[in-house]
């Protein structure tokens, strides 16, 4: 990159990135507001279990708590990667 390019360089338009990240985190935090304190711990432990079988990142796990008239529904969703299950899932416990 020449010196002129460097001088002319403008920062990337990043507001869209900020907006999308905020949409997701705000929605997530709202859904767990007033939820039991064990939820984050449970999420981490579930991640450990799921990791034994599939390669996923914590971002792939979504926990949602919904309340309506007396019912509480705990919804767990895991976005699976394309590669699906680990071929040697049974050995996974020793892998870490």
């Amino acid at each position: 990159m020449g010196i002129l390019d460097f001088l002319k360089r403008r920062p990337e338009p990043t507001a869209t990135v900020a907006r999308e990240r905020l949409r997701i985190i705000v929605a997530q935090e709202r859904s767990s507001r007033g939820a039991p304190d064990y939820l984050p711990m449970m999420r981490n432990e579930l991640l450990e279990v799921i990791k034994k079988y599939v390669h996923v990142d914590i971002e792939a796990i979504n926990i949602n708590l919904e309340r309506d008239s007396g019912h509480e529904i705990l919804e767990l969703s895991v976005t699976l990667p394309d590669g699906k299950a680990k071929s040697d899932a049974t050995n996974a416990t020793t892998a870490n």
Binding site: P13, A15, T16, A18, R19, R21, L22, R23, I25, E29
Partner: protein
Amino acid sequence: MTAEIIVVTSGKGGVGKTTTSASLATGLAMAGKKVAVIDFDVGLRNLDLIMGCERRVVYDFVNVVHGEATLKQSLIKDKRYENLFVLAASQTRDKDALTQEGVEKVLDSLSEEGFDYVICDSPAGIEKGAHLAMYFADKAVVVVNPEVSSVRDSDRILGLLASKTRRAERGEGQVTQHLLLTRYNPARVAIGEMLSVTDVEDILGIKVVGVIPESENVLTASNNGVPVIVDTASPAGQAYSDTVARILGEERPLRFIDVPKKGFLQRVFGG
């Protein structure tokens, strides 16, 4: 008549709560209301400087709460508006200096003294000081900057206002929530570098009550100890005036949210 209590809060620090509290209180006083503005930032007194009364502080909020001084002795009369009073924060390092009962007593006394509005300038964070500042509120001005951590924190604060206030606990109806977007830079929004008014409104699901542009007049005003709303020629001052009018129920279109078309002189000298 009971005074209307308005908390100015944000979660995140340094976003413009004290600047807003000073201008909101002064703006309401300019509209003829009797107003007290209280600094809840125990240990980090600053509102007195922004209001320009730092050398007249004798007794403070904690002194009143502890019965070491009367409310009358502690309220500092503004030098410009005779219906505007400041109650300074204490410089004590004791975090427990304020109690819920103590704060309630002071607010009740202000009502009895015929105040129309009490503005509570909250400290940053969500700890005790911030909790006490919002607890008795009827209305809240949530100050937010167009920046990720500030937006996220303000959502947290909106949640607390809906659950951890006296109104919420007693089921007396919601604390009225006003979102105030400050330090807005239309030029950076135009080139996609900064979240826009609509971005922030969409993310938080609430309309703004005003947009205060990033403005050099704010620093000048604080240097002089004059709330920026008094500077009626400045964009920030005008934006604060609009905001106060809206809080009082008037409808006014948003200004200063588009890139200003600058004249030659302005381009050379800034403005």
